[in-house]
Amino acid sequence: MKNYLPNIKSLIIKVKNLINSFYKLVGLEGIVWISALIYLATYSNYNQNHFTICPLSNLGIDNCPGCGLGRSVSMVLHGQFLHSFDFHWLGIPALIIILSRIFQLIRNNFNHYFKPINNGDSYAKCISTNAKS
């Protein structure tokens, strides 16, 4: 039993580092977009208006401008393009815009955190030199 404990600890540290680097790579915004796309891809009951995460329809507003777009993007992710046009014509462009935004975020953060501009100095070193001078 004692021999397994360090292995588990190192595994936990590895998973923690993985999550940390993923968070650094996409940021808060990217995590929200990716989880929204996963939610829409697994969403199935369109007619039942009982449980939604949309705050506007939970407040009691019937004509929410965003819900049709959500259903449309969801239809695109299920592969039914004609139905998606029935819900909202902006479904496919919206999906393209969000995906391009995710890629832009990943590229920006990759350049920013993993490849600092001049010869490989990390941010900690830069901040410490700032504090010294």
Binding site: C67, I98, Y123
Partner: protein, 117 residues
């Protein structure tokens, strides 16, 4: 070596670290020029926060247009800030958004300074 804290004391910490790294090789005159140009072109995070707050009372997505992301701006405008969720995320995230824009602007300005002086 020009000191960014003396030239531009009102920057955010992470932004300051980035710009210190960027203007490391500049002469003092070039750094002065950089400070003047960059301070007139950067966007303040507080302004972005105020533009995002407009999404609760009227038109959503003004901050995305201001930051130059036209596609996301149109999406926010037509869906009321993605059912208010996008607006709330951007309220939390406004410093990161401003930092992203400011870093792009700083790179442009540094390139201009290197070319024209």
């Amino acid at each position: 070596m020009p000191n960014v804290f003396q030239l531009m004391p009102s920057l955010e910490p992470e932004e300051m670290a980035y710009i210190q790294e960027l203007i490391k090789d500049f002469t003092d005159q070039q750094a002065q020029q950089f400070a003047l140009t960059y301070m007139s072109r950067r966007k303040d995070p507080t302004n972005i926060l105020i533009f995002a707050l407009i999404g609760f009372v009227g038109i959503a997505g003004v901050h995305r247009f201001v930051l130059g992301q036209v596609g996301m701006g149109v999406l926010y405008l037509l869906t009321g800030g993605l059912c208010l969720i996008g607006t709330i995320v951007d309220l939390v995230n406004h410093k990161k958004l401003a930092l992203e824009f400011n870093i792009k602007t700083a790179q442009q300005v540094a390139m201009m300074i290197k070319q024209y002086s």
